[in-house]
Amino acid sequence: MSNSIPFELSEKTYNKLLKIKNEKGLSKNTWDEFINSLISYGNENNTNAKIIENIIRKNAITYWYESWVRNFSINLTNIWNDKSAQDLIHTKNHYTSALIIGRGPSIKKFNHLKLLSESNFKGSIVCTDGSLPDVLNAGITPDKFNLFVVTIDAQENQKSLYEHPVTLQFGKGIKCILSTTAHPTVHNAAKNAGMDVFWIHTLFDHEKGKKSFNQIQGIMTRAKNSEKKIPAIQTGANVGTSAWVIAWSILGCKNIGMIGIDLGYDDDISWKNIRYHGNPIPENIDMNSSAFKKAYPTVHNPDYGCNCKQDPLFQYYCNALKEFIQKTKDKINTINATEGGALFGDGIKCITLKEFLQNYNF
């Protein structure tokens, strides 16, 4: 006869633990792995996120810094003469809902743009620049919707999105929120398309104080007009997160919906065939190694019951955005209507786009 006391778990406790396990993205993992993730020294998931962020941030500033400085210096005359995104803070026609549009695979999968174009959404629509041609082609145009587009990327090829025939056709009426470090040709292309351009700074080295280029940007911006203020935003390293920040900090919206913000790749496509937005995985990598699995995880979204694949870049963007959403959950509602992807967790409400349009159309 055993001397041990039988151990029982109440159904309520079991369900609580199951919910936490799923929220951590560990629904496909064993209970042992879940327990380990709670008690492991240093909390490995957070450590990995920090490692990813530290490496990519360091490489990013090395890669982009000169471009930012060069682009800003060439943009300066236009920065002096054009509008600041500050002007949008003072607009009287604030809406309390905004919808961010990204380019993730879920947007086509669920035909979100068609659904949106057939709606009478009254809120602000903030597109990432990459999504703009598709958005306009779907009939989401400035005569029917309050439309914004954001560019933060410093590369010249972003201008092609503004030179697209559909952008030229519908550009007038779109408000373009442009980083002061974007390529100068993007400004020209946006203006050429008839857009109203509003400048915004992007934060990257402001914490260095007087030695920072961000501070110098501020000084140079005010050199011609000491009253001119241009707001500065956290980009989260990608235009989707930038659009989210703009929606609440500049446009003053309280309910921020998001579509196409998968922050991951379609799980139906194999690792070899994915069209990476960064670099492809190295050819000779062992996909069974723990290093690969940490860098390229398959994430389970418990709210939508689906999986998606991530690379280090998507992890970097996703971890940061989740952190920012958590920090702001008391003052804004972030509603993920992507219906797929890796964005879930504390402060994020996951629903369908249809539900968002029904409940947040104001």
Partner: protein
């Protein structure tokens, strides 16, 4: 012996497009000589590997010979690679070659103590001799065309003649390069327009040298002009007598090139071949022969082509034949829209009218002209810049001009050496204005060497500013002018001229916003 050849990163802000042909031929030679040979290509991926990763790859074996080659614009990475190579292989023979070392091998060997042997100019026969001498323990003094160390001294050996028949060279060692990695970048926008739809693009070099003597150009020591620059005319004339005429330009024969291309098609299923030659059309007879053979082999139906040429050689019959052979693009160095600059500063022997005619003939013949330009030539002034922009506007051309950069070995480098070094050391600049007899020649030489090293480390590809030979524009002017030229912004160029006090020709008065404003005001007053 175990031989490692290393290709350092180049143009890291672009996609990697071109396999290191020269190094691959040297690898073939090492293999033919019976050595265990490896090639470490650090340029085939983006982003380039970390230095830690590079060290790990270099450290997989203990090498007997390490060969590193590259252009002047790769110097800063070569310096880092050398340090790692020497640390990991203290006893290896490190031999370097290519444009970065050919023109001042003794100086580079002084700056880089890791280098044992510098190869000057053409490398194939030289490398064979170096390997044989290393293996047998021979005397470096007997190997032609090198610099080597003898205790504290750096000594030159007798110059090596050019290889008279390039067809004797082996094919590049494609097995030692990750060819599929390069194919990923086939449709890159950094390539010529005709290749944007290609999926399996390769490059090939079929020419060494060029009949034009542009002051900004060199040929890595592989033609007569370069030899004269390095050795002097008298020495080269002596070499003509001893070894035969040292050619201005040499080609692989069309037959050789076709066989090479057939090998690439059969093995790698290429759909696009870029003949990375400076001036393929300058030998029209050879080009016609090439086109005939290409078409005869049926390659025109399978592989698109691109190459380089010069404007005067672009003639309708040649273009027609090249179009039949499926050439999609011919790249030409247009350089400037100003005849004054083309003829005097650049010395190309080409005029604006030649360039215009070439564009028209190519367009009429259905081949895309790809023309490059540059700004910052020594005597170029605002009027010359405006002529060039006028050329862009007339031809509706979107051009981001290069900045005229005095790479080592070029005439503009040799003619402006002191001016270049003064940009890297303010002491030299001050002494140039006010010489001081109390400062010894030895001290000045030391400062010049330091400045030279800083200059070499600063060199990048000419899309960015590193230093200038312009007598008219400073670096801030050049960056702004380059940008305005790209935008066709004559307004800003002319305003800049007025701001800086540069006189512009009256022919630009009608489009000058400042002159027009002055005219309007005087009309109102009168």
């Amino acid at each position: 012996m175990k031989v490692l050849l290393i290709h350092p990163p180049v143009r890291v802000d672009h996609d990697p497009l071109d396999m290191p042909q020269g190094l691959m031929i040297l690898a073939s030679i090492a293999i033919q000589e019976g050595h265990q040979t490896a090639l470490l290509d650090l340029n085939s991926q983006r982003p380039v590997p970390t230095w830690q990763n590079i060290a790990k790859q270099m450290g997989v074996e203990k090498w007997d010979v390490i060969a590193i080659g590259g252009l002047s614009s790769m110097y800063d990475d070569i310096v880092k690679v050398l340090k790692i190579a020497r640390k990991l292989n203290p006893d290896a023979l490190i031999v370097c070659g290519g444009g970065f070392i050919t023109y001042m091998p003794d100086k580079i060997m002084k700056f880089c103590p890791e280098i044992d042997i510098a190869g000057i100019g053409e490398g194939e026969e030289l490398f064979k001799d170096v390997l044989r001498t290393k293996e047998k323990g021979g005397n470096w003094a007997n190997v032609e065309g090198i610099c080597y160390r003898d205790d504290d001294q750096i000594l030159f050996t007798a110059p090596r003649p050019l290889i008279p028949n390039l067809d004797t060279l082996p094919l590049p060692a494609y097995d030692l390069v990750d060819v599929e990695e390069y194919f990923k970048y086939s449709g890159s926008l950094w390539t010529a327009p005709g290749s944007w739809q290609s999926k399996r693009r390769m490059n090939m070099v079929t020419e060494r040298g060029c009949p034009r003597q542009c002051t900004f150009c060199t040929h890595n020591g592989m033609n007569r002009w370069d030899q004269e620059m390095i050795l002097g005319k008298d020495r080269v004339r002596q070499m003509d007598k001893d070894f035969g005429f040292q050619a201005i330009v040499r080609f692989f024969s069309p037959k050789y090139v076709i066989e090479h291309a057939l090998h690439l098609y059969d093995k790698y299923k290429i759909d696009y071949l870029c003949l990375m030659d400076e001036n393929n059309t300058a030998s029209p007879g050879r080009m016609h022969e090439f086109c005939d053979l290409w078409i005869k082999e049926g390659l025109h139906k399978k592989v698109r082509l691109a190459t380089g040429g010069d404007s005067p050689s672009i003639k309708p019959d040649l273009v027609k034949h090249m179009k039949e052979a499926n050439f999609s693009t011919i790249a030409i160095g247009g350089e400037s829209g100003s005849d004054r600059i083309l003829l005097n500063d650049i010395g190309k022997g080409v005029t604006r009218a030649h360039n215009q005619q070439a564009i028209e003939i190519l367009q009429a013949g259905g081949i895309t002209p790809s023309m490059t330009f540059m700004v910052g030539n020594p005597n170029e002034d605002i009027n010359d810049v405006l002529e060039t922009v006028d050329f862009f506007i007339q031809n509706n051309a979107i051009v981001d001009p290069f900045i005229c950069t005095p790479y080592p070995g070029t005439k503009i480098f040799f003619d402006n050496q002191d001016f270049i070094l003064q940009q890297y050391d303010e002491r030299l600049a001050l002494l140039a204005k006010s010489p001081n007899p109390n400062i010894s020649e030895e001290v000045i030489k030391k400062w010049k060497d330091e400045a030279l090293q800083t200059f070499l480390l600063s060199l990048n590809n000419a899309t960015d500013y590193s230093c200038t030979v312009s007598k008219k524009f400073d670096y801030a002017d050049l960056i702004a002018i380059k940008h305005f030229m790209h935008e066709h912004n004559t307004d800003k160029l002319l305003k800049l001229a007025h701001m800086r006090g540069w006189n512009h020709d009256h022919k630009w008065d009608d489009i000058c916003p400042v002159c027009k404003a002055e005219q309007d005001i005087s009309l109102v007053i009168s």
